[in-house]
Subunit: 204 residues, 2 copies
Protein backbone atom coordinates (compact mmCIF):
# COMPACT_ATOMS: atom_id res chain seq x y z
CA UNK A 1 0.00 0.00 0.00
CA UNK A 2 1.96 3.02 -1.24
CA UNK A 3 1.38 5.89 1.14
CA UNK A 4 2.49 8.66 -1.21
CA UNK A 5 4.75 10.08 1.44
CA UNK A 6 8.22 11.13 0.26
CA UNK A 7 11.07 9.85 2.39
CA UNK A 8 13.23 12.83 1.54
CA UNK A 9 12.69 16.11 -0.26
CA UNK A 10 15.36 16.58 -2.92
CA UNK A 11 17.24 19.81 -3.49
CA UNK A 12 16.40 20.02 -7.20
CA UNK A 13 14.82 23.45 -7.39
CA UNK A 14 11.43 21.98 -8.30
CA UNK A 15 8.18 22.64 -6.49
CA UNK A 16 6.30 19.65 -5.09
CA UNK A 17 3.76 20.04 -7.87
CA UNK A 18 6.43 20.10 -10.58
CA UNK A 19 8.08 17.08 -9.05
CA UNK A 20 4.77 15.31 -8.71
CA UNK A 21 4.01 15.74 -12.39
CA UNK A 22 7.44 14.93 -13.74
CA UNK A 23 6.97 12.28 -16.44
CA UNK A 24 8.51 8.92 -15.61
CA UNK A 25 10.69 6.30 -17.20
CA UNK A 26 9.70 2.95 -15.67
CA UNK A 27 11.39 -0.43 -15.97
CA UNK A 28 9.89 -3.82 -15.07
CA UNK A 29 12.66 -6.37 -15.01
CA UNK A 30 13.64 -9.64 -13.29
CA UNK A 31 12.95 -13.31 -14.02
CA UNK A 32 9.52 -13.41 -12.38
CA UNK A 33 6.11 -13.01 -13.90
CA UNK A 34 4.03 -9.84 -14.14
CA UNK A 35 6.46 -7.53 -15.95
CA UNK A 36 4.37 -7.11 -19.09
CA UNK A 37 1.07 -7.70 -17.32
CA UNK A 38 1.76 -4.81 -14.94
CA UNK A 39 2.76 -2.60 -17.89
CA UNK A 40 -0.52 -3.37 -19.68
CA UNK A 41 -2.44 -2.84 -16.45
CA UNK A 42 -0.77 0.57 -16.32
CA UNK A 43 -1.88 1.22 -19.92
CA UNK A 44 -5.45 0.35 -18.90
CA UNK A 45 -5.24 2.92 -16.12
CA UNK A 46 -3.71 5.54 -18.43
CA UNK A 47 -6.46 4.89 -20.99
CA UNK A 48 -9.01 5.71 -18.31
CA UNK A 49 -7.28 9.07 -17.77
CA UNK A 50 -7.62 9.82 -21.48
CA UNK A 51 -3.94 9.37 -22.28
CA UNK A 52 -2.70 8.60 -25.79
CA UNK A 53 -1.04 5.18 -25.64
CA UNK A 54 1.44 3.58 -27.99
CA UNK A 55 2.37 -0.08 -27.48
CA UNK A 56 5.43 -1.49 -29.23
CA UNK A 57 6.06 -5.19 -28.82
CA UNK A 58 9.62 -6.20 -29.53
CA UNK A 59 8.86 -9.91 -29.76
CA UNK A 60 8.20 -12.34 -32.56
CA UNK A 61 5.38 -14.53 -31.22
CA UNK A 62 2.00 -13.62 -32.66
CA UNK A 63 0.16 -15.34 -29.80
CA UNK A 64 1.94 -13.31 -27.18
CA UNK A 65 -0.23 -10.84 -25.23
CA UNK A 66 -3.12 -11.30 -27.61
CA UNK A 67 -5.53 -10.95 -24.68
CA UNK A 68 -4.22 -7.55 -23.66
CA UNK A 69 -4.10 -6.46 -27.29
CA UNK A 70 -7.75 -7.40 -27.84
CA UNK A 71 -8.85 -5.60 -24.70
CA UNK A 72 -6.86 -2.45 -25.44
CA UNK A 73 -8.15 -2.46 -29.02
CA UNK A 74 -11.71 -2.65 -27.70
CA UNK A 75 -10.95 0.24 -25.35
CA UNK A 76 -9.51 2.15 -28.33
CA UNK A 77 -12.74 1.52 -30.27
CA UNK A 78 -14.74 2.73 -27.28
CA UNK A 79 -12.62 5.89 -27.35
CA UNK A 80 -13.09 6.36 -31.09
CA UNK A 81 -16.85 5.88 -30.96
CA UNK A 82 -17.77 7.52 -27.65
CA UNK A 83 -14.83 9.76 -26.75
CA UNK A 84 -14.35 7.92 -23.45
CA UNK A 85 -10.77 7.16 -22.40
CA UNK A 86 -7.80 7.67 -24.71
CA UNK A 87 -6.62 6.44 -28.10
CA UNK A 88 -4.46 3.31 -28.31
CA UNK A 89 -2.09 2.14 -31.03
CA UNK A 90 -0.69 -1.37 -30.83
CA UNK A 91 2.33 -2.23 -32.95
CA UNK A 92 4.22 -5.47 -33.01
CA UNK A 93 7.39 -6.64 -34.56
CA UNK A 94 6.15 -10.24 -34.84
CA UNK A 95 3.79 -9.68 -37.72
CA UNK A 96 5.86 -6.90 -39.30
CA UNK A 97 5.59 -3.33 -37.96
CA UNK A 98 2.39 -1.78 -39.25
CA UNK A 99 4.13 1.31 -40.64
CA UNK A 100 6.63 -0.80 -42.56
CA UNK A 101 6.34 -1.99 -46.15
CA UNK A 102 8.15 -5.16 -45.23
CA UNK A 103 6.55 -8.39 -44.13
CA UNK A 104 7.81 -9.58 -40.75
CA UNK A 105 11.22 -10.80 -41.88
CA UNK A 106 11.93 -14.00 -40.02
CA UNK A 107 15.53 -13.79 -41.05
CA UNK A 108 16.54 -10.44 -39.62
CA UNK A 109 15.24 -9.78 -36.14
CA UNK A 110 18.06 -7.32 -35.53
CA UNK A 111 17.00 -5.08 -38.42
CA UNK A 112 13.33 -5.31 -37.36
CA UNK A 113 14.17 -4.33 -33.79
CA UNK A 114 16.33 -1.40 -34.98
CA UNK A 115 13.48 -0.26 -37.22
CA UNK A 116 11.05 -0.44 -34.30
CA UNK A 117 13.30 1.65 -32.11
CA UNK A 118 13.88 4.22 -34.90
CA UNK A 119 10.09 4.69 -35.14
CA UNK A 120 9.68 5.02 -31.37
CA UNK A 121 12.48 7.59 -31.39
CA UNK A 122 10.74 9.59 -34.13
CA UNK A 123 7.49 9.52 -32.18
CA UNK A 124 9.20 10.63 -28.98
CA UNK A 125 10.70 13.58 -30.90
CA UNK A 126 7.21 14.45 -32.19
CA UNK A 127 5.63 13.91 -28.73
CA UNK A 128 3.15 11.57 -30.34
CA UNK A 129 2.03 9.59 -27.28
CA UNK A 130 1.57 10.17 -23.56
CA UNK A 131 2.56 6.62 -22.61
CA UNK A 132 4.89 4.30 -24.51
CA UNK A 133 4.83 0.62 -23.59
CA UNK A 134 8.05 -0.87 -24.97
CA UNK A 135 7.35 -4.53 -24.29
CA UNK A 136 10.33 -6.91 -24.10
CA UNK A 137 12.54 -4.05 -25.22
CA UNK A 138 15.41 -5.06 -22.93
CA UNK A 139 16.23 -7.98 -25.22
CA UNK A 140 17.19 -6.09 -28.41
CA UNK A 141 19.31 -3.87 -26.16
CA UNK A 142 20.96 -6.86 -24.54
CA UNK A 143 21.62 -8.50 -27.88
CA UNK A 144 23.16 -5.34 -29.31
CA UNK A 145 20.44 -4.80 -31.92
CA UNK A 146 19.58 -1.44 -30.40
CA UNK A 147 22.22 0.89 -28.97
CA UNK A 148 21.74 1.34 -25.22
CA UNK A 149 23.43 4.76 -25.19
CA UNK A 150 21.07 5.97 -27.90
CA UNK A 151 18.06 4.77 -25.90
CA UNK A 152 19.33 6.38 -22.70
CA UNK A 153 20.06 9.70 -24.41
CA UNK A 154 16.70 9.72 -26.19
CA UNK A 155 14.80 9.00 -22.98
CA UNK A 156 16.72 11.50 -20.84
CA UNK A 157 16.26 14.28 -23.41
CA UNK A 158 12.70 13.48 -24.45
CA UNK A 159 10.58 16.63 -24.78
CA UNK A 160 7.27 17.38 -23.07
CA UNK A 161 5.36 15.02 -20.85
CA UNK A 162 5.96 11.53 -22.14
CA UNK A 163 5.91 8.42 -19.94
CA UNK A 164 7.79 5.31 -20.94
CA UNK A 165 7.57 1.81 -19.50
CA UNK A 166 10.06 -0.82 -20.62
CA UNK A 167 9.73 -4.52 -19.80
CA UNK A 168 12.02 -7.53 -20.00
CA UNK A 169 14.73 -9.38 -18.13
CA UNK A 170 18.32 -8.20 -17.82
CA UNK A 171 17.70 -4.45 -17.99
CA UNK A 172 20.95 -2.71 -18.82
CA UNK A 173 22.51 -0.90 -15.81
CA UNK A 174 22.61 2.34 -17.82
CA UNK A 175 18.85 2.08 -18.34
CA UNK A 176 18.28 1.34 -14.65
CA UNK A 177 20.45 4.35 -13.80
CA UNK A 178 18.28 6.84 -15.70
CA UNK A 179 14.92 5.23 -14.87
CA UNK A 180 12.70 6.87 -12.27
CA UNK A 181 11.04 3.67 -11.17
CA UNK A 182 12.49 0.19 -11.43
CA UNK A 183 10.71 -2.93 -10.19
CA UNK A 184 12.25 -6.35 -10.23
CA UNK A 185 9.75 -9.20 -10.48
CA UNK A 186 11.27 -12.16 -8.71
CA UNK A 187 10.24 -15.69 -9.33
CA UNK A 188 9.47 -17.32 -5.98
CA UNK A 189 7.42 -20.28 -7.13
CA UNK A 190 6.04 -21.14 -10.52
CA UNK A 191 3.89 -23.96 -11.88
CA UNK A 192 6.46 -24.57 -14.62
CA UNK A 193 8.61 -25.91 -11.79
CA UNK A 194 6.08 -28.68 -11.37
CA UNK A 195 5.78 -29.58 -15.01
CA UNK A 196 2.82 -27.34 -15.71
CA UNK A 197 2.65 -25.51 -18.99
CA UNK A 198 1.26 -22.08 -19.88
CA UNK A 199 -2.49 -21.68 -19.61
CA UNK A 200 -4.94 -19.76 -21.71
CA UNK A 201 -6.26 -16.76 -19.78
CA UNK A 202 -3.20 -16.78 -17.54
CA UNK A 203 -0.25 -16.74 -19.91
CA UNK A 204 -1.99 -15.18 -22.91
CA UNK B 1 9.94 -14.50 -22.12
CA UNK B 2 8.41 -17.63 -20.58
CA UNK B 3 9.08 -20.58 -22.82
CA UNK B 4 6.36 -22.85 -21.44
CA UNK B 5 8.87 -25.68 -21.09
CA UNK B 6 8.59 -27.68 -17.86
CA UNK B 7 11.86 -28.15 -16.02
CA UNK B 8 10.72 -31.45 -14.55
CA UNK B 9 7.73 -33.72 -15.00
CA UNK B 10 6.18 -34.47 -11.62
CA UNK B 11 5.04 -37.89 -10.52
CA UNK B 12 1.51 -36.81 -9.64
CA UNK B 13 -0.55 -39.21 -11.75
CA UNK B 14 -1.90 -36.37 -13.93
CA UNK B 15 -1.69 -36.17 -17.69
CA UNK B 16 0.05 -33.13 -19.19
CA UNK B 17 -3.34 -31.81 -20.24
CA UNK B 18 -4.79 -32.22 -16.75
CA UNK B 19 -1.76 -30.53 -15.27
CA UNK B 20 -1.91 -27.77 -17.83
CA UNK B 21 -5.49 -26.96 -16.97
CA UNK B 22 -5.21 -27.22 -13.20
CA UNK B 23 -6.64 -24.02 -11.77
CA UNK B 24 -4.11 -21.86 -9.97
CA UNK B 25 -3.70 -19.98 -6.73
CA UNK B 26 -1.42 -17.03 -7.43
CA UNK B 27 0.22 -14.62 -5.01
CA UNK B 28 1.80 -11.25 -5.85
CA UNK B 29 3.81 -10.09 -2.89
CA UNK B 30 6.90 -8.02 -2.03
CA UNK B 31 7.48 -4.33 -1.36
CA UNK B 32 7.76 -3.31 -5.02
CA UNK B 33 5.12 -1.94 -7.34
CA UNK B 34 2.98 -3.86 -9.80
CA UNK B 35 1.37 -6.42 -7.48
CA UNK B 36 -2.20 -5.19 -7.95
CA UNK B 37 -1.56 -3.82 -11.42
CA UNK B 38 -0.44 -7.24 -12.64
CA UNK B 39 -3.49 -8.85 -11.01
CA UNK B 40 -5.82 -6.44 -12.80
CA UNK B 41 -3.91 -6.97 -16.04
CA UNK B 42 -4.59 -10.66 -15.53
CA UNK B 43 -8.29 -9.91 -15.01
CA UNK B 44 -8.28 -8.00 -18.29
CA UNK B 45 -6.85 -11.06 -20.03
CA UNK B 46 -9.33 -13.39 -18.32
CA UNK B 47 -12.20 -11.09 -19.36
CA UNK B 48 -11.09 -11.48 -22.95
CA UNK B 49 -11.37 -15.27 -22.56
CA UNK B 50 -14.95 -14.88 -21.36
CA UNK B 51 -14.20 -15.71 -17.72
CA UNK B 52 -16.49 -14.63 -14.89
CA UNK B 53 -14.45 -12.30 -12.68
CA UNK B 54 -15.00 -11.24 -9.09
CA UNK B 55 -12.82 -8.51 -7.61
CA UNK B 56 -12.72 -8.01 -3.85
CA UNK B 57 -10.70 -5.09 -2.57
CA UNK B 58 -9.72 -5.40 1.06
CA UNK B 59 -8.73 -1.75 1.44
CA UNK B 60 -10.37 1.36 2.73
CA UNK B 61 -9.35 4.06 0.27
CA UNK B 62 -12.07 4.92 -2.23
CA UNK B 63 -9.57 6.44 -4.65
CA UNK B 64 -7.54 3.29 -4.81
CA UNK B 65 -7.54 1.46 -8.17
CA UNK B 66 -10.38 3.60 -9.45
CA UNK B 67 -8.81 3.49 -12.94
CA UNK B 68 -8.84 -0.28 -13.12
CA UNK B 69 -12.31 -0.37 -11.65
CA UNK B 70 -13.66 2.03 -14.28
CA UNK B 71 -12.05 0.07 -17.09
CA UNK B 72 -13.25 -3.30 -15.85
CA UNK B 73 -16.75 -1.90 -15.33
CA UNK B 74 -16.74 -0.67 -18.92
CA UNK B 75 -15.62 -4.11 -20.05
CA UNK B 76 -18.42 -5.61 -17.95
CA UNK B 77 -20.94 -3.31 -19.68
CA UNK B 78 -19.53 -4.35 -23.03
CA UNK B 79 -20.11 -7.94 -21.99
CA UNK B 80 -23.67 -7.24 -20.82
CA UNK B 81 -24.63 -5.36 -23.99
CA UNK B 82 -22.77 -7.31 -26.68
CA UNK B 83 -21.86 -10.67 -25.12
CA UNK B 84 -18.16 -10.06 -25.76
CA UNK B 85 -15.76 -11.06 -22.97
CA UNK B 86 -16.93 -12.09 -19.52
CA UNK B 87 -18.95 -10.60 -16.64
CA UNK B 88 -17.16 -8.63 -13.92
CA UNK B 89 -18.24 -7.82 -10.37
CA UNK B 90 -16.21 -5.33 -8.38
CA UNK B 91 -16.67 -5.21 -4.62
CA UNK B 92 -14.80 -3.05 -2.18
CA UNK B 93 -14.59 -2.88 1.54
CA UNK B 94 -13.85 0.85 1.47
CA UNK B 95 -17.34 2.02 0.63
CA UNK B 96 -19.06 -0.87 2.43
CA UNK B 97 -19.40 -4.25 0.70
CA UNK B 98 -22.20 -4.05 -1.86
CA UNK B 99 -24.01 -7.12 -0.52
CA UNK B 100 -24.00 -5.73 3.02
CA UNK B 101 -26.70 -3.64 4.66
CA UNK B 102 -24.07 -1.79 6.63
CA UNK B 103 -22.42 1.42 5.57
CA UNK B 104 -18.64 1.12 5.43
CA UNK B 105 -17.97 1.16 9.15
CA UNK B 106 -14.89 3.25 9.71
CA UNK B 107 -14.61 1.91 13.21
CA UNK B 108 -14.36 -1.81 12.59
CA UNK B 109 -12.07 -2.77 9.73
CA UNK B 110 -11.55 -6.19 11.26
CA UNK B 111 -15.25 -7.04 11.10
CA UNK B 112 -15.49 -5.68 7.56
CA UNK B 113 -12.54 -7.77 6.41
CA UNK B 114 -13.97 -10.89 8.06
CA UNK B 115 -17.31 -10.24 6.37
CA UNK B 116 -15.56 -9.87 2.99
CA UNK B 117 -13.76 -13.15 3.41
CA UNK B 118 -16.96 -14.94 4.53
CA UNK B 119 -18.62 -13.81 1.28
CA UNK B 120 -15.66 -14.90 -0.86
CA UNK B 121 -15.74 -18.26 0.90
CA UNK B 122 -19.47 -18.67 0.15
CA UNK B 123 -18.87 -17.82 -3.49
CA UNK B 124 -15.99 -20.27 -3.76
CA UNK B 125 -18.28 -23.00 -2.35
CA UNK B 126 -20.89 -22.08 -4.99
CA UNK B 127 -18.27 -21.86 -7.75
CA UNK B 128 -19.56 -18.41 -8.56
CA UNK B 129 -16.54 -16.98 -10.42
CA UNK B 130 -13.75 -18.26 -12.64
CA UNK B 131 -11.21 -15.74 -11.33
CA UNK B 132 -11.14 -14.11 -7.90
CA UNK B 133 -8.93 -11.07 -7.44
CA UNK B 134 -8.44 -10.65 -3.68
CA UNK B 135 -6.66 -7.32 -3.69
CA UNK B 136 -4.56 -6.41 -0.63
CA UNK B 137 -5.89 -9.54 1.06
CA UNK B 138 -2.55 -10.34 2.72
CA UNK B 139 -3.07 -7.49 5.19
CA UNK B 140 -6.22 -8.74 6.98
CA UNK B 141 -4.45 -12.10 7.23
CA UNK B 142 -1.34 -10.51 8.65
CA UNK B 143 -3.33 -8.45 11.13
CA UNK B 144 -5.28 -11.51 12.31
CA UNK B 145 -8.63 -10.26 11.04
CA UNK B 146 -8.96 -13.29 8.78
CA UNK B 147 -7.75 -16.73 9.82
CA UNK B 148 -4.90 -17.90 7.60
CA UNK B 149 -5.63 -21.58 8.18
CA UNK B 150 -9.22 -21.06 7.08
CA UNK B 151 -8.05 -19.32 3.90
CA UNK B 152 -5.53 -22.05 3.13
CA UNK B 153 -8.05 -24.83 3.71
CA UNK B 154 -10.70 -23.11 1.63
CA UNK B 155 -8.32 -22.54 -1.27
CA UNK B 156 -6.83 -26.03 -1.22
CA UNK B 157 -10.26 -27.67 -1.15
CA UNK B 158 -12.04 -25.32 -3.52
CA UNK B 159 -14.26 -27.18 -5.97
CA UNK B 160 -14.22 -27.01 -9.76
CA UNK B 161 -12.04 -24.71 -11.83
CA UNK B 162 -11.58 -21.52 -9.86
CA UNK B 163 -8.50 -19.32 -10.12
CA UNK B 164 -7.50 -17.04 -7.28
CA UNK B 165 -4.98 -14.22 -7.24
CA UNK B 166 -4.06 -12.58 -3.94
CA UNK B 167 -2.02 -9.38 -3.68
CA UNK B 168 -0.22 -7.56 -0.90
CA UNK B 169 3.02 -7.46 1.05
CA UNK B 170 4.04 -9.98 3.68
CA UNK B 171 2.21 -13.01 2.30
CA UNK B 172 1.92 -15.61 5.04
CA UNK B 173 4.32 -18.58 4.56
CA UNK B 174 1.36 -20.98 4.74
CA UNK B 175 -0.26 -19.16 1.83
CA UNK B 176 2.99 -19.20 -0.15
CA UNK B 177 3.27 -22.92 0.58
CA UNK B 178 -0.07 -23.81 -1.02
CA UNK B 179 0.14 -21.28 -3.89
CA UNK B 180 0.96 -22.52 -7.38
CA UNK B 181 2.59 -19.31 -8.49
CA UNK B 182 4.25 -16.73 -6.27
CA UNK B 183 5.92 -13.60 -7.59
CA UNK B 184 7.75 -11.15 -5.41
CA UNK B 185 7.80 -7.60 -6.73
CA UNK B 186 10.99 -6.01 -5.49
CA UNK B 187 11.49 -2.33 -5.19
CA UNK B 188 14.73 -1.41 -6.94
CA UNK B 189 14.20 2.28 -7.43
CA UNK B 190 11.17 4.45 -6.85
CA UNK B 191 10.38 8.13 -7.39
CA UNK B 192 9.12 8.35 -3.79
CA UNK B 193 12.82 7.99 -2.89
CA UNK B 194 13.38 11.34 -4.56
CA UNK B 195 10.51 13.14 -2.92
CA UNK B 196 8.03 12.50 -5.72
CA UNK B 197 4.43 11.78 -4.84
CA UNK B 198 1.88 9.51 -6.47
CA UNK B 199 0.71 10.55 -9.92
CA UNK B 200 -2.68 10.32 -11.56
CA UNK B 201 -2.61 7.70 -14.30
CA UNK B 202 0.34 5.97 -12.68
CA UNK B 203 -0.71 5.39 -9.10
CA UNK B 204 -4.47 5.40 -9.60
Amino acid sequence: MPQGVPLTVPDDGLTTKQRRNRPLVMVHTGAGKGKSTAAFGMAMRAWNQGWDIGVFQFVKSAKWRIGEQTVLERLAELHDTTGVGGPVEWHKMGSGWSWSRKEGSDDDHAADAAEGWAEVKRRIAEERHDLYVLDEFTYPMKWGWVDVDDVVETLVNRPGRQYVVITGRHADPKLVEIADLVTEMQHVKHPFDNGQKGQRGIEW
